[in-house]
Assembly symmetry: C2
Homo-oligomer: 325 residues x 2
Protein backbone atom coordinates (compact mmCIF):
# COMPACT_ATOMS: atom_id res chain seq x y z
CA UNK A 1 0.00 0.00 0.00
CA UNK A 2 1.25 3.45 -0.91
CA UNK A 3 0.30 5.97 1.76
CA UNK A 4 -0.95 9.43 0.77
CA UNK A 5 -2.31 12.47 2.63
CA UNK A 6 -4.84 15.09 1.65
CA UNK A 7 -3.79 18.74 1.75
CA UNK A 8 -6.52 21.40 1.87
CA UNK A 9 -5.82 25.12 1.44
CA UNK A 10 -8.76 27.36 2.34
CA UNK A 11 -8.20 30.78 0.76
CA UNK A 12 -10.33 33.91 0.76
CA UNK A 13 -11.96 33.07 -2.56
CA UNK A 14 -10.85 29.53 -3.39
CA UNK A 15 -10.29 26.18 -1.61
CA UNK A 16 -7.59 23.95 -3.15
CA UNK A 17 -7.47 20.23 -2.40
CA UNK A 18 -4.67 17.84 -3.31
CA UNK A 19 -3.61 14.23 -2.80
CA UNK A 20 0.04 14.31 -1.75
CA UNK A 21 2.46 11.40 -1.42
CA UNK A 22 5.05 10.96 1.31
CA UNK A 23 7.68 12.70 -0.85
CA UNK A 24 5.51 15.79 -1.21
CA UNK A 25 4.37 15.26 -4.79
CA UNK A 26 0.86 16.44 -5.58
CA UNK A 27 -0.69 13.47 -7.42
CA UNK A 28 -4.08 15.03 -8.25
CA UNK A 29 -5.74 18.24 -7.18
CA UNK A 30 -9.05 20.04 -7.37
CA UNK A 31 -10.65 23.37 -6.44
CA UNK A 32 -13.94 24.49 -4.97
CA UNK A 33 -15.07 28.03 -4.21
CA UNK A 34 -14.70 29.30 -0.67
CA UNK A 35 -18.25 30.62 -0.39
CA UNK A 36 -19.35 34.12 0.46
CA UNK A 37 -22.69 32.88 1.87
CA UNK A 38 -21.24 32.21 5.33
CA UNK A 39 -23.06 28.85 5.71
CA UNK A 40 -20.39 26.63 7.27
CA UNK A 41 -22.47 23.42 7.23
CA UNK A 42 -23.06 23.73 3.48
CA UNK A 43 -19.37 24.46 2.93
CA UNK A 44 -18.21 21.48 5.03
CA UNK A 45 -20.60 19.26 3.12
CA UNK A 46 -19.27 20.55 -0.22
CA UNK A 47 -15.66 20.22 0.95
CA UNK A 48 -16.14 16.65 2.20
CA UNK A 49 -17.80 15.68 -1.09
CA UNK A 50 -14.93 17.20 -3.08
CA UNK A 51 -12.33 15.38 -0.96
CA UNK A 52 -14.16 12.06 -1.36
CA UNK A 53 -14.46 12.61 -5.12
CA UNK A 54 -10.73 13.32 -5.33
CA UNK A 55 -9.87 10.20 -3.31
CA UNK A 56 -12.09 8.16 -5.63
CA UNK A 57 -10.39 9.59 -8.73
CA UNK A 58 -6.87 8.93 -7.44
CA UNK A 59 -7.78 5.36 -6.48
CA UNK A 60 -8.85 4.79 -10.08
CA UNK A 61 -5.25 5.57 -11.03
CA UNK A 62 -3.75 3.37 -8.34
CA UNK A 63 -5.95 1.09 -6.27
CA UNK A 64 -3.15 0.38 -3.78
CA UNK A 65 -3.47 3.78 -2.12
CA UNK A 66 -4.26 4.37 1.51
CA UNK A 67 -5.34 7.89 2.60
CA UNK A 68 -3.94 8.35 6.10
CA UNK A 69 -4.77 11.94 6.92
CA UNK A 70 -6.13 15.35 6.02
CA UNK A 71 -4.13 18.48 6.75
CA UNK A 72 -5.83 21.84 6.38
CA UNK A 73 -4.45 25.35 6.05
CA UNK A 74 -6.91 28.19 6.65
CA UNK A 75 -6.80 31.86 7.66
CA UNK A 76 -6.82 32.06 11.48
CA UNK A 77 -6.70 28.26 11.61
CA UNK A 78 -5.78 27.18 15.13
CA UNK A 79 -3.61 24.08 15.37
CA UNK A 80 -4.34 23.49 19.06
CA UNK A 81 -8.15 23.71 18.95
CA UNK A 82 -8.89 22.75 15.32
CA UNK A 83 -10.98 25.90 14.92
CA UNK A 84 -11.04 28.84 12.52
CA UNK A 85 -11.56 31.96 14.62
CA UNK A 86 -12.76 35.35 13.37
CA UNK A 87 -11.05 35.08 9.97
CA UNK A 88 -11.36 38.55 8.42
CA UNK A 89 -11.22 37.30 4.81
CA UNK A 90 -13.76 34.46 5.18
CA UNK A 91 -17.53 34.73 5.28
CA UNK A 92 -17.84 32.36 8.27
CA UNK A 93 -18.29 34.36 11.46
CA UNK A 94 -16.97 33.78 14.96
CA UNK A 95 -15.36 30.48 15.95
CA UNK A 96 -15.82 27.63 13.45
CA UNK A 97 -15.09 24.09 14.74
CA UNK A 98 -13.68 23.00 11.39
CA UNK A 99 -11.83 19.83 12.42
CA UNK A 100 -14.80 18.57 14.44
CA UNK A 101 -17.27 19.29 11.61
CA UNK A 102 -15.10 17.67 8.96
CA UNK A 103 -14.31 14.72 11.24
CA UNK A 104 -18.01 13.76 11.11
CA UNK A 105 -17.56 13.10 7.38
CA UNK A 106 -14.30 11.15 7.87
CA UNK A 107 -14.73 9.12 11.07
CA UNK A 108 -12.07 6.58 10.00
CA UNK A 109 -9.38 9.05 8.98
CA UNK A 110 -6.26 8.55 11.10
CA UNK A 111 -5.05 12.19 11.15
CA UNK A 112 -7.08 15.37 10.74
CA UNK A 113 -5.38 18.66 11.62
CA UNK A 114 -5.64 22.36 10.90
CA UNK A 115 -3.29 25.31 10.95
CA UNK A 116 -2.95 28.80 9.57
CA UNK A 117 -2.62 28.73 5.75
CA UNK A 118 0.68 30.58 5.93
CA UNK A 119 1.98 28.22 8.63
CA UNK A 120 1.11 25.35 6.29
CA UNK A 121 3.09 27.00 3.50
CA UNK A 122 6.05 27.42 5.87
CA UNK A 123 5.94 23.72 6.77
CA UNK A 124 5.86 22.91 3.06
CA UNK A 125 8.89 25.13 2.41
CA UNK A 126 10.77 23.49 5.29
CA UNK A 127 10.10 19.90 4.24
CA UNK A 128 10.14 20.12 0.45
CA UNK A 129 11.31 23.60 -0.60
CA UNK A 130 14.09 26.15 -0.19
CA UNK A 131 14.18 25.97 3.62
CA UNK A 132 15.17 22.29 3.78
CA UNK A 133 18.47 23.12 5.48
CA UNK A 134 17.23 26.06 7.55
CA UNK A 135 16.34 26.09 11.23
CA UNK A 136 15.21 29.72 11.46
CA UNK A 137 13.20 31.36 8.71
CA UNK A 138 9.98 33.21 8.03
CA UNK A 139 7.45 32.71 5.24
CA UNK A 140 5.32 35.63 4.01
CA UNK A 141 2.39 34.76 1.78
CA UNK A 142 1.10 37.64 -0.34
CA UNK A 143 -2.41 37.11 -1.72
CA UNK A 144 -5.89 38.32 -0.84
CA UNK A 145 -4.31 38.96 2.55
CA UNK A 146 -0.78 38.74 3.91
CA UNK A 147 -0.01 35.71 6.06
CA UNK A 148 3.17 34.53 7.69
CA UNK A 149 4.64 31.39 9.19
CA UNK A 150 7.57 31.51 11.60
CA UNK A 151 10.08 28.68 12.11
CA UNK A 152 12.44 28.80 15.11
CA UNK A 153 14.96 26.03 15.78
CA UNK A 154 13.32 23.87 13.11
CA UNK A 155 9.82 24.04 14.61
CA UNK A 156 6.82 26.06 13.56
CA UNK A 157 5.96 28.73 16.14
CA UNK A 158 2.32 28.39 17.23
CA UNK A 159 2.63 30.51 20.36
CA UNK A 160 0.57 30.19 23.49
CA UNK A 161 -2.80 29.69 21.81
CA UNK A 162 -1.95 28.61 18.27
CA UNK A 163 -2.16 31.97 16.50
CA UNK A 164 1.46 33.07 16.15
CA UNK A 165 2.56 34.45 12.78
CA UNK A 166 0.01 37.17 12.06
CA UNK A 167 2.67 39.54 10.73
CA UNK A 168 0.26 40.84 8.08
CA UNK A 169 -1.59 42.57 10.91
CA UNK A 170 1.30 44.54 12.34
CA UNK A 171 0.95 48.32 12.11
CA UNK A 172 2.98 49.75 9.24
CA UNK A 173 1.47 53.24 9.04
CA UNK A 174 -0.27 54.44 12.24
CA UNK A 175 -3.71 55.71 11.30
CA UNK A 176 -3.23 54.50 7.72
CA UNK A 177 -5.39 52.45 5.35
CA UNK A 178 -8.35 50.44 6.59
CA UNK A 179 -7.42 46.77 6.84
CA UNK A 180 -9.79 43.83 6.25
CA UNK A 181 -9.67 43.24 10.02
CA UNK A 182 -11.08 46.80 10.56
CA UNK A 183 -7.85 48.17 12.09
CA UNK A 184 -5.87 50.97 10.45
CA UNK A 185 -2.49 50.88 8.75
CA UNK A 186 -1.73 47.17 8.81
CA UNK A 187 0.92 45.71 6.49
CA UNK A 188 -1.77 43.64 4.76
CA UNK A 189 -3.56 46.81 3.60
CA UNK A 190 -0.41 47.82 1.69
CA UNK A 191 1.39 44.62 0.62
CA UNK A 192 -1.41 42.20 -0.32
CA UNK A 193 -2.62 41.98 -3.94
CA UNK A 194 -5.60 44.28 -3.15
CA UNK A 195 -3.15 46.54 -1.31
CA UNK A 196 -1.15 46.92 -4.54
CA UNK A 197 -4.33 47.82 -6.39
CA UNK A 198 -5.09 50.46 -3.78
CA UNK A 199 -1.56 51.83 -4.22
CA UNK A 200 -2.07 52.00 -8.01
CA UNK A 201 -5.23 54.09 -7.56
CA UNK A 202 -3.56 56.22 -4.87
CA UNK A 203 -0.78 57.06 -7.33
CA UNK A 204 -3.19 57.74 -10.22
CA UNK A 205 -5.05 60.12 -7.91
CA UNK A 206 -1.78 61.77 -6.84
CA UNK A 207 -0.48 62.35 -10.38
CA UNK A 208 -3.87 62.55 -12.17
CA UNK A 209 -2.31 59.84 -14.36
CA UNK A 210 -4.82 59.65 -17.20
CA UNK A 211 -2.08 58.31 -19.49
CA UNK A 212 -1.37 55.20 -17.38
CA UNK A 213 -2.35 51.81 -18.84
CA UNK A 214 -4.06 51.19 -15.50
CA UNK A 215 -6.30 54.26 -15.84
CA UNK A 216 -8.76 52.34 -18.05
CA UNK A 217 -9.54 49.76 -15.38
CA UNK A 218 -12.18 50.10 -12.70
CA UNK A 219 -11.33 49.72 -9.00
CA UNK A 220 -12.97 46.29 -9.09
CA UNK A 221 -11.27 45.22 -12.33
CA UNK A 222 -7.64 45.99 -11.56
CA UNK A 223 -5.51 43.19 -10.12
CA UNK A 224 -1.82 42.65 -9.34
CA UNK A 225 -1.23 40.68 -12.56
CA UNK A 226 -2.41 43.72 -14.61
CA UNK A 227 -0.02 45.91 -12.64
CA UNK A 228 2.83 43.52 -13.46
CA UNK A 229 1.90 43.48 -17.16
CA UNK A 230 1.81 47.29 -17.19
CA UNK A 231 5.21 47.46 -15.47
CA UNK A 232 6.61 45.20 -18.21
CA UNK A 233 5.43 47.81 -20.71
CA UNK A 234 7.19 50.56 -18.74
CA UNK A 235 4.06 52.12 -17.23
CA UNK A 236 5.32 54.60 -14.64
CA UNK A 237 2.41 54.15 -12.24
CA UNK A 238 2.83 50.36 -12.30
CA UNK A 239 6.58 50.65 -11.71
CA UNK A 240 6.01 52.99 -8.78
CA UNK A 241 3.43 50.58 -7.31
CA UNK A 242 6.18 47.96 -7.05
CA UNK A 243 8.66 50.46 -5.61
CA UNK A 244 6.19 51.58 -2.94
CA UNK A 245 5.02 48.04 -2.16
CA UNK A 246 8.66 47.01 -1.75
CA UNK A 247 9.31 49.98 0.53
CA UNK A 248 6.38 49.02 2.76
CA UNK A 249 7.14 45.31 2.71
CA UNK A 250 10.82 46.01 3.39
CA UNK A 251 9.89 48.06 6.47
CA UNK A 252 7.65 45.25 7.71
CA UNK A 253 10.22 42.52 7.06
CA UNK A 254 12.83 44.53 8.98
CA UNK A 255 10.48 44.56 12.00
CA UNK A 256 10.12 40.78 11.71
CA UNK A 257 13.89 40.33 11.37
CA UNK A 258 14.39 42.45 14.49
CA UNK A 259 12.07 40.09 16.36
CA UNK A 260 13.44 36.78 15.11
CA UNK A 261 16.84 37.04 13.42
CA UNK A 262 15.93 34.55 10.68
CA UNK A 263 18.34 33.15 8.10
CA UNK A 264 15.91 34.03 5.32
CA UNK A 265 12.50 35.41 4.53
CA UNK A 266 10.59 33.52 1.85
CA UNK A 267 7.96 35.29 -0.21
CA UNK A 268 5.10 33.36 -1.73
CA UNK A 269 1.98 34.28 -3.67
CA UNK A 270 0.70 35.99 -6.81
CA UNK A 271 2.52 39.33 -6.48
CA UNK A 272 5.90 37.54 -6.15
CA UNK A 273 5.57 36.34 -9.77
CA UNK A 274 6.70 39.88 -10.65
CA UNK A 275 10.23 38.84 -9.64
CA UNK A 276 12.76 41.66 -9.44
CA UNK A 277 9.99 44.27 -9.63
CA UNK A 278 8.99 43.31 -6.11
CA UNK A 279 12.10 41.58 -4.69
CA UNK A 280 14.60 44.38 -5.47
CA UNK A 281 12.80 47.27 -3.74
CA UNK A 282 11.79 44.98 -0.85
CA UNK A 283 15.42 43.98 -0.27
CA UNK A 284 16.67 47.56 -0.64
CA UNK A 285 14.20 48.98 1.85
CA UNK A 286 14.53 46.11 4.31
CA UNK A 287 18.29 46.72 4.42
CA UNK A 288 17.66 50.45 4.99
CA UNK A 289 15.64 49.63 8.11
CA UNK A 290 17.92 46.95 9.58
CA UNK A 291 20.25 47.44 12.53
CA UNK A 292 23.94 47.11 11.54
CA UNK A 293 24.06 43.65 13.19
CA UNK A 294 21.57 42.38 10.58
CA UNK A 295 22.68 44.25 7.45
CA UNK A 296 23.59 42.14 4.36
CA UNK A 297 22.85 38.93 6.27
CA UNK A 298 19.17 38.18 5.71
CA UNK A 299 18.16 36.55 2.43
CA UNK A 300 14.84 37.39 0.77
CA UNK A 301 13.99 34.38 -1.38
CA UNK A 302 11.12 33.32 -3.62
CA UNK A 303 9.35 30.21 -2.35
CA UNK A 304 10.60 27.10 -4.18
CA UNK A 305 7.21 25.47 -3.97
CA UNK A 306 5.15 25.50 -7.13
CA UNK A 307 2.49 28.24 -7.14
CA UNK A 308 -0.80 26.63 -6.16
CA UNK A 309 0.92 23.66 -4.53
CA UNK A 310 2.74 25.27 -1.61
CA UNK A 311 -0.21 25.49 0.74
CA UNK A 312 -1.56 22.08 -0.28
CA UNK A 313 1.82 20.43 0.22
CA UNK A 314 2.33 22.26 3.51
CA UNK A 315 -1.10 21.30 4.77
CA UNK A 316 -0.46 17.67 3.84
CA UNK A 317 2.88 17.84 5.67
CA UNK A 318 0.86 18.70 8.76
CA UNK A 319 -1.03 15.43 8.32
CA UNK A 320 2.23 13.48 8.03
CA UNK A 321 3.47 15.19 11.20
CA UNK A 322 0.31 14.14 13.06
CA UNK A 323 1.01 10.54 12.08
CA UNK A 324 4.45 10.72 13.69
CA UNK A 325 2.83 11.29 17.08
CA UNK B 1 31.19 23.13 48.46
CA UNK B 2 28.37 25.53 47.63
CA UNK B 3 28.41 26.39 43.93
CA UNK B 4 27.76 29.96 42.79
CA UNK B 5 27.80 31.80 39.46
CA UNK B 6 28.66 35.37 38.56
CA UNK B 7 26.05 37.45 36.72
CA UNK B 8 27.22 40.56 34.86
CA UNK B 9 24.83 43.13 33.38
CA UNK B 10 26.46 45.63 31.05
CA UNK B 11 24.18 48.64 30.68
CA UNK B 12 24.57 51.87 28.76
CA UNK B 13 25.93 53.76 31.77
CA UNK B 14 26.51 51.14 34.45
CA UNK B 15 27.82 47.56 34.76
CA UNK B 16 26.28 45.51 37.59
CA UNK B 17 28.00 42.40 38.92
CA UNK B 18 26.56 39.86 41.33
CA UNK B 19 27.37 36.52 42.92
CA UNK B 20 24.28 34.33 42.53
CA UNK B 21 23.56 30.96 44.10
CA UNK B 22 21.86 28.01 42.39
CA UNK B 23 18.47 29.16 43.67
CA UNK B 24 18.88 32.58 42.07
CA UNK B 25 19.62 34.59 45.20
CA UNK B 26 22.04 37.47 44.76
CA UNK B 27 24.51 37.02 47.62
CA UNK B 28 26.64 40.13 47.03
CA UNK B 29 26.77 42.66 44.23
CA UNK B 30 28.79 45.59 42.97
CA UNK B 31 28.77 48.23 40.24
CA UNK B 32 31.32 49.79 37.93
CA UNK B 33 30.78 52.47 35.31
CA UNK B 34 30.35 51.35 31.73
CA UNK B 35 32.88 53.79 30.29
CA UNK B 36 32.33 56.38 27.60
CA UNK B 37 36.03 56.29 26.57
CA UNK B 38 35.54 53.33 24.21
CA UNK B 39 38.75 51.58 25.37
CA UNK B 40 37.68 47.95 25.60
CA UNK B 41 40.99 46.62 26.99
CA UNK B 42 40.84 49.06 29.90
CA UNK B 43 37.21 48.16 30.53
CA UNK B 44 37.85 44.39 30.47
CA UNK B 45 40.73 44.90 32.89
CA UNK B 46 38.49 46.96 35.24
CA UNK B 47 35.65 44.44 34.92
CA UNK B 48 37.90 41.46 35.66
CA UNK B 49 39.35 43.24 38.69
CA UNK B 50 35.86 44.04 40.00
CA UNK B 51 34.72 40.43 39.53
CA UNK B 52 37.81 39.10 41.34
CA UNK B 53 37.31 41.58 44.16
CA UNK B 54 33.69 40.46 44.53
CA UNK B 55 34.65 36.78 44.57
CA UNK B 56 37.23 37.56 47.24
CA UNK B 57 34.66 39.40 49.38
CA UNK B 58 32.05 36.64 49.13
CA UNK B 59 34.65 34.00 50.05
CA UNK B 60 35.38 35.96 53.21
CA UNK B 61 31.73 35.37 54.15
CA UNK B 62 31.79 31.69 53.23
CA UNK B 63 35.05 29.97 52.35
CA UNK B 64 33.27 26.85 51.04
CA UNK B 65 32.18 28.57 47.81
CA UNK B 66 33.09 27.47 44.31
CA UNK B 67 32.57 29.93 41.44
CA UNK B 68 31.62 27.80 38.45
CA UNK B 69 30.79 30.33 35.77
CA UNK B 70 30.27 33.88 34.55
CA UNK B 71 27.16 34.81 32.60
CA UNK B 72 27.04 38.21 30.93
CA UNK B 73 24.14 40.25 29.59
CA UNK B 74 25.06 43.12 27.26
CA UNK B 75 23.39 45.18 24.52
CA UNK B 76 23.86 43.34 21.20
CA UNK B 77 25.54 40.49 23.06
CA UNK B 78 25.73 37.45 20.79
CA UNK B 79 25.31 34.10 22.52
CA UNK B 80 26.74 32.11 19.61
CA UNK B 81 29.95 34.09 19.05
CA UNK B 82 30.52 35.64 22.49
CA UNK B 83 30.83 39.08 20.90
CA UNK B 84 29.17 42.47 21.38
CA UNK B 85 28.48 43.84 17.91
CA UNK B 86 27.77 47.48 17.03
CA UNK B 87 25.94 48.25 20.28
CA UNK B 88 24.38 51.69 19.75
CA UNK B 89 24.34 52.61 23.45
CA UNK B 90 27.92 51.57 24.25
CA UNK B 91 31.12 53.47 23.48
CA UNK B 92 32.90 50.35 22.14
CA UNK B 93 32.82 50.33 18.35
CA UNK B 94 32.40 47.47 15.88
CA UNK B 95 32.67 43.86 17.02
CA UNK B 96 34.05 43.33 20.54
CA UNK B 97 35.23 39.77 21.39
CA UNK B 98 34.05 40.09 24.99
CA UNK B 99 34.05 36.42 26.03
CA UNK B 100 37.52 35.83 24.55
CA UNK B 101 38.96 38.96 26.21
CA UNK B 102 37.43 38.18 29.60
CA UNK B 103 38.43 34.51 29.32
CA UNK B 104 42.10 35.60 29.37
CA UNK B 105 41.50 36.86 32.93
CA UNK B 106 39.62 33.70 34.01
CA UNK B 107 41.38 30.76 32.30
CA UNK B 108 40.09 28.26 34.90
CA UNK B 109 36.44 29.33 34.86
CA UNK B 110 34.24 26.42 33.78
CA UNK B 111 31.49 28.44 32.03
CA UNK B 112 31.74 31.86 30.44
CA UNK B 113 28.85 32.99 28.23
CA UNK B 114 27.26 36.15 26.88
CA UNK B 115 23.84 37.15 25.64
CA UNK B 116 21.71 40.21 25.05
CA UNK B 117 20.92 41.99 28.34
CA UNK B 118 17.19 41.69 27.70
CA UNK B 119 17.54 37.98 26.85
CA UNK B 120 19.30 37.55 30.17
CA UNK B 121 16.40 39.27 31.96
CA UNK B 122 13.96 36.96 30.16
CA UNK B 123 15.91 33.89 31.32
CA UNK B 124 15.83 35.29 34.85
CA UNK B 125 12.05 35.80 34.66
CA UNK B 126 11.59 32.26 33.36
CA UNK B 127 13.68 30.55 36.01
CA UNK B 128 13.02 32.66 39.09
CA UNK B 129 10.23 35.15 38.33
CA UNK B 130 6.67 35.46 37.06
CA UNK B 131 7.22 33.30 33.95
CA UNK B 132 8.10 30.12 35.87
CA UNK B 133 5.06 28.29 34.47
CA UNK B 134 5.05 29.90 31.03
CA UNK B 135 6.33 28.40 27.79
CA UNK B 136 5.67 31.43 25.55
CA UNK B 137 6.27 34.95 26.73
CA UNK B 138 8.13 38.12 25.88
CA UNK B 139 10.19 40.41 28.12
CA UNK B 140 10.52 44.12 27.34
CA UNK B 141 13.17 46.04 29.27
CA UNK B 142 12.64 49.80 29.36
CA UNK B 143 15.75 51.76 30.31
CA UNK B 144 18.36 53.80 28.45
CA UNK B 145 17.17 51.76 25.49
CA UNK B 146 14.38 49.25 24.95
CA UNK B 147 15.42 45.61 24.81
CA UNK B 148 13.43 42.43 24.51
CA UNK B 149 13.80 38.72 25.08
CA UNK B 150 11.54 36.17 23.42
CA UNK B 151 10.74 32.73 24.80
CA UNK B 152 9.04 30.14 22.57
CA UNK B 153 8.22 26.65 23.79
CA UNK B 154 10.28 27.25 26.93
CA UNK B 155 13.47 28.22 25.08
CA UNK B 156 15.00 31.60 24.50
CA UNK B 157 14.87 32.57 20.80
CA UNK B 158 18.36 33.45 19.55
CA UNK B 159 17.55 33.19 15.85
CA UNK B 160 19.95 32.29 13.10
CA UNK B 161 22.90 34.37 14.31
CA UNK B 162 22.15 35.06 17.96
CA UNK B 163 20.51 38.49 17.67
CA UNK B 164 16.78 37.76 17.91
CA UNK B 165 14.71 39.99 20.19
CA UNK B 166 15.56 43.50 19.01
CA UNK B 167 11.95 44.66 19.28
CA UNK B 168 13.08 48.09 20.49
CA UNK B 169 14.28 48.72 16.95
CA UNK B 170 11.06 48.03 15.12
CA UNK B 171 9.58 51.02 13.31
CA UNK B 172 6.73 52.59 15.26
CA UNK B 173 6.38 55.91 13.42
CA UNK B 174 7.80 55.91 9.85
CA UNK B 175 10.09 58.92 9.48
CA UNK B 176 9.72 59.69 13.19
CA UNK B 177 12.23 60.44 15.96
CA UNK B 178 15.93 59.74 15.54
CA UNK B 179 16.86 56.54 17.36
CA UNK B 180 20.21 55.87 19.05
CA UNK B 181 20.90 53.41 16.20
CA UNK B 182 20.56 56.34 13.69
CA UNK B 183 17.32 55.02 12.15
CA UNK B 184 14.05 56.96 12.37
CA UNK B 185 10.89 56.21 14.32
CA UNK B 186 11.97 53.17 16.31
CA UNK B 187 10.02 52.10 19.39
CA UNK B 188 13.07 52.77 21.56
CA UNK B 189 13.01 56.47 20.63
CA UNK B 190 9.52 56.71 22.16
CA UNK B 191 9.28 54.15 24.98
CA UNK B 192 12.73 54.22 26.63
CA UNK B 193 13.38 56.50 29.61
CA UNK B 194 15.01 59.12 27.34
CA UNK B 195 12.08 58.65 24.96
CA UNK B 196 9.69 59.66 27.75
CA UNK B 197 11.80 62.74 28.40
CA UNK B 198 11.60 63.65 24.72
CA UNK B 199 7.81 63.21 24.89
CA UNK B 200 7.65 65.54 27.90
CA UNK B 201 9.50 68.27 25.99
CA UNK B 202 7.43 67.62 22.86
CA UNK B 203 4.26 68.20 24.89
CA UNK B 204 5.65 71.31 26.61
CA UNK B 205 6.49 72.67 23.17
CA UNK B 206 3.02 71.78 21.88
CA UNK B 207 1.10 73.43 24.73
CA UNK B 208 3.73 76.08 25.66
CA UNK B 209 3.33 74.55 29.13
CA UNK B 210 5.19 77.07 31.27
CA UNK B 211 3.10 76.04 34.29
CA UNK B 212 4.23 72.40 34.23
CA UNK B 213 6.45 71.19 37.07
CA UNK B 214 8.70 69.79 34.35
CA UNK B 215 9.19 73.21 32.73
CA UNK B 216 11.90 74.13 35.25
CA UNK B 217 14.18 71.25 34.23
CA UNK B 218 16.70 71.33 31.41
CA UNK B 219 16.68 68.74 28.64
CA UNK B 220 19.69 67.09 30.26
CA UNK B 221 18.24 67.22 33.78
CA UNK B 222 14.81 65.70 33.23
CA UNK B 223 14.45 61.94 33.78
CA UNK B 224 11.58 59.42 33.93
CA UNK B 225 11.55 59.45 37.74
CA UNK B 226 10.87 63.20 37.74
CA UNK B 227 8.04 62.65 35.27
CA UNK B 228 6.54 60.04 37.61
CA UNK B 229 6.85 62.38 40.61
CA UNK B 230 5.16 65.17 38.63
CA UNK B 231 2.35 62.80 37.56
CA UNK B 232 1.80 61.95 41.24
CA UNK B 233 1.26 65.68 41.83
CA UNK B 234 -1.29 65.80 39.01
CA UNK B 235 0.94 67.56 36.47
CA UNK B 236 -0.96 67.43 33.18
CA UNK B 237 2.13 67.19 30.98
CA UNK B 238 3.53 64.32 33.05
CA UNK B 239 0.20 62.48 32.95
CA UNK B 240 0.02 62.89 29.19
CA UNK B 241 3.59 61.61 28.84
CA UNK B 242 2.46 58.31 30.37
CA UNK B 243 -0.67 58.20 28.21
CA UNK B 244 1.34 58.75 25.02
CA UNK B 245 4.12 56.36 26.04
CA UNK B 246 1.49 53.71 26.74
CA UNK B 247 -0.14 54.34 23.37
CA UNK B 248 3.18 53.85 21.58
CA UNK B 249 4.23 50.87 23.66
CA UNK B 250 0.80 49.30 23.24
CA UNK B 251 1.08 49.61 19.45
CA UNK B 252 4.53 47.99 19.54
CA UNK B 253 3.46 45.18 21.89
CA UNK B 254 0.51 44.40 19.59
CA UNK B 255 2.98 43.94 16.71
CA UNK B 256 5.01 41.56 18.87
CA UNK B 257 1.88 39.66 19.93
CA UNK B 258 0.90 39.32 16.25
CA UNK B 259 4.28 37.73 15.59
CA UNK B 260 4.45 35.38 18.56
CA UNK B 261 1.12 34.86 20.32
CA UNK B 262 2.68 34.94 23.79
CA UNK B 263 0.87 34.16 27.03
CA UNK B 264 2.19 37.36 28.58
CA UNK B 265 4.42 40.35 28.04
CA UNK B 266 6.59 41.29 31.00
CA UNK B 267 7.76 44.85 31.45
CA UNK B 268 10.94 45.60 33.32
CA UNK B 269 12.97 48.73 34.05
CA UNK B 270 12.85 52.18 35.61
CA UNK B 271 9.74 53.54 33.86
CA UNK B 272 7.69 50.52 35.00
CA UNK B 273 8.01 51.69 38.62
CA UNK B 274 5.25 54.16 37.67
CA UNK B 275 2.80 51.24 37.87
CA UNK B 276 -0.70 51.99 36.58
CA UNK B 277 0.48 55.24 35.00
CA UNK B 278 2.30 53.19 32.38
CA UNK B 279 0.58 49.75 32.53
CA UNK B 280 -3.00 51.00 32.09
CA UNK B 281 -2.54 53.00 28.86
CA UNK B 282 -0.19 50.33 27.49
CA UNK B 283 -2.81 47.62 28.03
CA UNK B 284 -5.62 49.81 26.65
CA UNK B 285 -3.77 50.67 23.46
CA UNK B 286 -2.36 47.18 22.93
CA UNK B 287 -5.92 45.82 23.05
CA UNK B 288 -7.03 48.47 20.54
CA UNK B 289 -4.44 47.19 18.06
CA UNK B 290 -4.98 43.45 18.55
CA UNK B 291 -6.83 41.18 16.15
CA UNK B 292 -10.03 39.73 17.65
CA UNK B 293 -8.29 36.36 18.09
CA UNK B 294 -5.90 37.96 20.60
CA UNK B 295 -8.17 40.41 22.41
CA UNK B 296 -8.43 40.09 26.23
CA UNK B 297 -6.02 37.14 26.19
CA UNK B 298 -2.54 38.62 26.55
CA UNK B 299 -1.35 39.63 30.01
CA UNK B 300 0.91 42.63 30.50
CA UNK B 301 2.76 42.01 33.76
CA UNK B 302 5.43 43.75 35.79
CA UNK B 303 8.60 41.69 36.10
CA UNK B 304 8.73 39.86 39.43
CA UNK B 305 12.48 40.15 39.61
CA UNK B 306 13.83 42.77 41.96
CA UNK B 307 14.87 45.99 40.18
CA UNK B 308 18.62 45.87 39.73
CA UNK B 309 18.76 42.10 40.14
CA UNK B 310 16.83 40.86 37.09
CA UNK B 311 19.64 41.18 34.59
CA UNK B 312 22.27 39.89 37.02
CA UNK B 313 20.14 36.88 37.94
CA UNK B 314 19.30 36.23 34.28
CA UNK B 315 22.93 36.48 33.24
CA UNK B 316 23.92 34.07 36.01
CA UNK B 317 21.18 31.68 34.84
CA UNK B 318 22.97 31.62 31.49
CA UNK B 319 26.09 30.37 33.31
CA UNK B 320 24.11 27.61 35.03
CA UNK B 321 22.68 26.60 31.65
CA UNK B 322 26.18 26.35 30.17
CA UNK B 323 27.12 23.96 32.95
CA UNK B 324 24.26 21.64 31.98
CA UNK B 325 25.88 21.05 28.58
Amino acid sequence: MKKVAIGVDIGGTNTAIGVVDAEGHVMVKDNISTPSHGDIDQYISDLAAAIKELIKSVKLLNENLEVVGIGIGAPNGNYYSGTIEYAPNLSFKGVVRLVELLRAHFPEMEALALTNDANAAAIGEMIYGGAKDMKNFVMFTLGTGVGSGIVVNGDLVYGNDGFAGECGHTTLIPGGRLCGCTALGHLEAYCSAPGMKRTAFELMVQYNATDSILADKSFNELDSKMIYDAAEKGDKIALEVFEKTGAWLGQGLADTVHHLSPEAVFLFGGPTAAGDYIFKPTKKHMEKHLLPIFKDKIKILPSELKPGDAAIVGASALAWKELEK
